[in-house]
Structure formats: structure tokens, C-alpha cells
């Protein structure tokens, strides 16, 4: 019993997910259905993949605001270069662009000591500029149907995109929980100076996490473009904010040193289920924005009230 209370206190977002599932199951006949669930997973995968990387970066005590722009760049390259390089070549270039932008952010944050918020805020503006210069404000279409077919394909009745998301979520959870790199993520986020004194190479460590999130943002963008068979230069706008919302809903602290992939998955699913369920109930999508904003603030409030020790003064 104590363990259950402990879990509830640590992962309040999963209660919300559970309540949502029960509520929508009773109010819409179409909700509780395997096909709808795999639908939700596909919808969740775009934000979800980035959120996995964001969890690492945020536990590190950093933040990445450039993921939406990186997503758009990777998607544009992966679709736009197909006539010249073929699908595999174009997708590789797309993924590489994400890795490079992540590495660039990481090296700047490491070498200059400028706060990650500012480094990635700059990159968010600049990379979006790159996207517009490269695409000349045009949307690209994938003429090879194999590309869009991949986005719609299934394996054992489950959409491939959902499988990729679930698989990478498990990997991310294992890495964060059971590897040296994963433990260092918490150490660096908890106390950067102490971590450095303990012999962790803080700069390269953070660089690795920025490369990770750059790669995941690029992957997410490419998978999103396979869903549509196209890419637009405005793709991924505001996704950095949605991703941070999902990660914070999952209980990861902005100050670093605390968080989990399971919590992040809860946050991602909460957003996806809410959108899907309200869509099925034909509630205008405007209300989802209001509800999500309120929930974000409510989770923060509950966290402050119940999870933190009540200190004196500050």
C-alpha cells in the first residue's frame, strides 16, 4: 500500500492518464479500441521522440528550444533531396543534420559556458532561417510513394511508427536507469560542480545529450514527413513548447537532477489522449489548449504543495 502511495506521489501524471482513459471510454464508443490506441501512439510519437531526448537534457539542468526548427530542417532535407540522393541517402542527410545541430549546440554550451536556454534560443531562430533559405519557402512532396507508404505501414497489426516510438522509449529508459551515462545525467544535473570534482567530464557529457536530442528531433521530423508524404518549412513550430510541457507534466524538474522516462511517457500520452479523446467528442481543439495549459500549472502547483519539503523563507 505504501509503495502504491509512493508511486502515485512520484508519477501523478499517470493517474491523470488513467482518469482520461476511463472518462473517454465511457463518453465515446470509438475510444476504447485497439485501432484507436495505436492511432494515439502514432500521434504521440512525434512529440514523444523529442521528449525522450528532452528528458535527458532537462535532467542535465539544460533545455533545448531548437528542436522544432531541427525537426523542420531534417524533414525538408529528407524529402527535398530524394530526387538527387534517393530515399536512403536523403534520410541519412536529414538525420545527420540533426546530429550536427545537436553537436553545434552542445559544443557552444560546453566551450563558451553560455546558458543552454540562450544557445538554443539562438539556434531556434537561426536554424529556422536555414530551413527557409534551403526550401525557398516551398513545401516539398515525396514523389516516391514508398516513402509515404512507410509512414502508413504496420507490423503485426501495429503501426511501424508506434513500434519505433515504443522501442526507443524502452531503450531510453534502460540507458537512463542502468548505464553509467544515465547515472551521470542525474549527477551533472543535481550538482554540476560536484560532478566535475568527482571526475565526470561534464562538457563532453552534455555534448552527448545534445547530440542525442538533435538526432531524435531529426528522426521525429522525418517520421512526421512520412506520415504526410511531404514537408513544409513551418513544420514543428512551437513543438519545443509542447515537448517541454510533456516532460514537465511527467515530473522532470527544470532545475535538473530529477526526472524519468516513465514520467515523460505519461506526459506525452496525457497530451495525445486528451487531443484524441476530445477530437472524438467533437470538442473544438481550442479547448484542448486551455485544458493543457491549466493542467500544466496544476501539476506544478501539486508538485510544489506535496512533493517538495516545505522550507523556511525562499
Amino acid at each position: 500500500m505504501n509503495r502504491i502511495i509512493y508511486l502515485i506521489k512520484r508519477q501523478p501524471i499517470w493517474i491523470f492518464v488513467f482518469v482520461c482513459i476511463v472518462f473517454f471510454s465511457f463518453s465515446s464508443p470509438y475510444f476504447f479500441d485497439i485501432r484507436n490506441f495505436s492511432n494515439i501512439l502514432v500521434q504521440a510519437s512525434t512529440i514523444g521522440l523529442i521528449a525522450l531526448g528532452m528528458t535527458f537534457v532537462m535532467i542535465n539542468g539544460n533545455i533545448d528550444l531548437s528542436v522544432g526548427a531541427t525537426l523542420a530542417l531534417a524533414a525538408s532535407l529528407a524529402v527535398g533531396l530524394q530526387p538527387q540522393l534517393g530515399i536512403i541517402g536523403a534520410v541519412s542527410v536529414g538525420l545527420l543534420s540533426g546530429i550536427l545541430i545537436g553537436a553545434l549546440n552542445g559544443i557552444i554550451a560546453w566551450k563558451t559556458g553560455v546558458d543552454a536556454f540562450i544557445v538554443t534560443l539562438g539556434a531556434m531562430i537561426g536554424v529556422r532561417g536555414l530551413v527557409f533559405i534551403y526550401t525557398e519557402e516551398q513545401a516539398f512532396y515525396a514523389y516516391d510513394l514508398a516513402y509515404a507508404n512507410f509512414g502508413a505501414s504496420s507490423l503485426f497489426g501495429i503501426p511501424v511508427l508506434a513500434l519505433i516510438f515504443v522501442f526507443l522509449t524502452i531503450i531510453a529508459h534502460l540507458v537512463l536507469k542502468y548505464t553509467i551515462h544515465g547515472r551521470n545525467v542525474f549527477a551533472v544535473g543535481g550538482n554540476r560542480v560536484a560532478a566535475k570534482e568527482a571526475g565526470i567530464r561534464v562538457g563532453p557529457h552534455m555534448l552527448l545529450n545534445f547530440i542525442l536530442i538533435g538526432f531524435l528531433a531529426a528522426l521525429s521530423g522525418i517520421l512526421l514527413s512520412t506520415q504526410m508524404g511531404a514537408s513544409t518549412p513551418n513544420l514543428g513550430r512551437n513543438y519545443e513548447l509542447w515537448t517541454i510541457t510533456a516532460v514537465v507534466l511527467g515530473g522532470t524538474r527544470l532545475t535538473g537532477g530529477f526526472g524519468s522516462i516513465i514520467g515523460t511517457l505519461g506526459g506525452v500520452l496525457a497530451i495525445a489522449i486528451l487531443r484524441n479523446g476530445m477530437n472524438l467528442l467533437q470538442v473544438p481543439s481550442f479547448y484542448v489548449l486551455i485544458i493543457l495549459g491549466s493542467i500544466l500549472i496544476l501539476v506544478l502547483f501539486l508538485d510544489k504543495r506535496f512533493a517538495e519539503p516545505q522550507g523556511v523563507g525562499a
Binding site: 546558458d115 539562438g122 562538457g203 513548447l241 481550442f286 479547448y287 500544466l296 510544489k304
Partner: protein, 304 residues
Amino acid sequence: MAFILCVVIFSLSTQKFLSTDNFLTVVMQASIIGTIALGVTFVVIGGNLDLSVGSLLSFATVLVVDLHDKVGPGTAILLMFVFTLLIGSVNGYLIGYLRLNSLIVTLGMLSAIQGITLVYSGGKNVDISDQTNTWFAFFGREALFGVPVPAIIFIVLGIILQIVLLKTGFGRKIFAIGGNATASLFSGLRRNRLVFSTYLLSAFTTGCAALILGSRVMGSQNNVGEGYELLVLAGVILGGTSLLGGSGSIARTVIGVLILAMIQNGLLLLGFPYYTQWLVTWVVIIVAVWLDIAAKRGKLFSTY
């Protein structure tokens, strides 16, 4: 420094840059982001962030434009400020009195206000039917003594707020709570109330920006302010205001915003593609903050 560098580079490379006309154009282009940045500077000096100003700008612009035809310009402006300040006070209450993390609260408000705007307008764009015979055009389209009104609003508001920040007890207290929250608590400052008032201020300047924007366009999309929150922060940071709080000034924010507008203007005059300015902004933001930090620690590279 960066400001002078910008002026020199662009003046040398294009004839048109260093004219009064062009300077006024730059100030006018900067006026919307700049006016918002004035209020946000107070928030940042107080040690907090405000990401909700972009959504709030959309909300206020849609509101004032929509109400203009329904209740007349005067009442519309009044109601717009009432509701904008109301939303600002929600931010202020949650962050000042409940002491929740400002980044997440204003992130939540960003999404909530966007939703409220869409619910209000039903997702449709709004516009003013009679665009020629309304004095509402004054704020965005007219000029006094050859100076465009948006530029006047921006500069006058900037001067007033600079005086408030530097010459009043209120301004000094904002520096104190941002610089050292614990020390200011033990000195008997009412942090709650001060933080609350910084959010009212940023809501107020956002309302002023909405006046300029609504009047200039005479209509509004629901997402007109999308992304402004980060451009505003870019201007504030470029001015040298620390995101950690406790330092900064209105004058420097004005310069930061003007640098952003000058990059845009100068590169266009030189014939570069429109989006090149975003790449240059990327470099300028990071280099400006880097040099600032490097000067403080005495070394160019960090030691991690």
C-alpha cells in the same frame, strides 16, 4: 558595443542606411517587439521569465480589433487593457504569491491564452470594417512632427520606464529581489507584491503593442503574436540583461531590440535574402552573451 559595430558596418556598406528616414523605419519596425520587451525587462530583472507575451499579444490584438466595430474604439481600448491586465495578474498571482516556476507557468499560460483567443474569435480572423474614418488609425498609421506614432509610443514608454527603474524605490526593489531573493526577504521587501507588479507591467506594455499592431494592420489573425515571446527575450538578452535576474536596464533593452531590427534592415538593404537575418541573429545573440560572460570570468572558454 555591438550596437556601434552594427551601425558602423552597415553605414560603411550601404549609403541608404545612415539616413534619418531609414533610422525612423528601423525604430518603427522595432516598436512592437520593443514595447513588449520594455515590460519583460522588469520581469527578467526580477528574476523571472514571461513566455506568455506572444499569446497575450494575439489575444489583445484580436480583442481590440473585434470590439472596435462593436462598442467603438475608446471602449474597445479600455476593455482590451482591462482583460490584458487581468491575465497579467493571473501570471503575477501564480508566480508572485504561489511562487510557482515562472517558465512553466507562463508556458502553460501561453497555451491557455491561445485557446481563449480561439474560443473568443471562433477561429476566424477579425478586421475593422471602416478603416479610413476611425481615430483608432492614430496608433499605428500616423505620424507626429514626421515621427511615426509607434516609434513615439516605444521611445516615450521606454524613457518613462527607464526613470521608474533607476530613480524610484520600486525600481531598486526589483533589482534587489532579482539579485538576491533571500537577502531581500530579510530586508523586509514584499517579494510577492513586487513580482506581481512586474507581470502587470509586462501585460500593460503588451497591451500597448497590441494597440500599435491592431491599428497598423486594422485586423488580426488569431496567432499573430506566435513566436514573439522568444524574439522579445532575444532582444532583452542582446541588451545584456542577465536571465538570472538582478541586472539589466531599459536603455540596454532598447539597444538590444534596435540591433535586431538593424540587422534585419541592413541585410535587406544590402540585398541579402530575407531569412539571412535569422542566421545573423543566431550568431549575434550567442557571441554577445559569450563576450559578456568571458569578460566577467576573465577567460574566453569555460573550464568544464
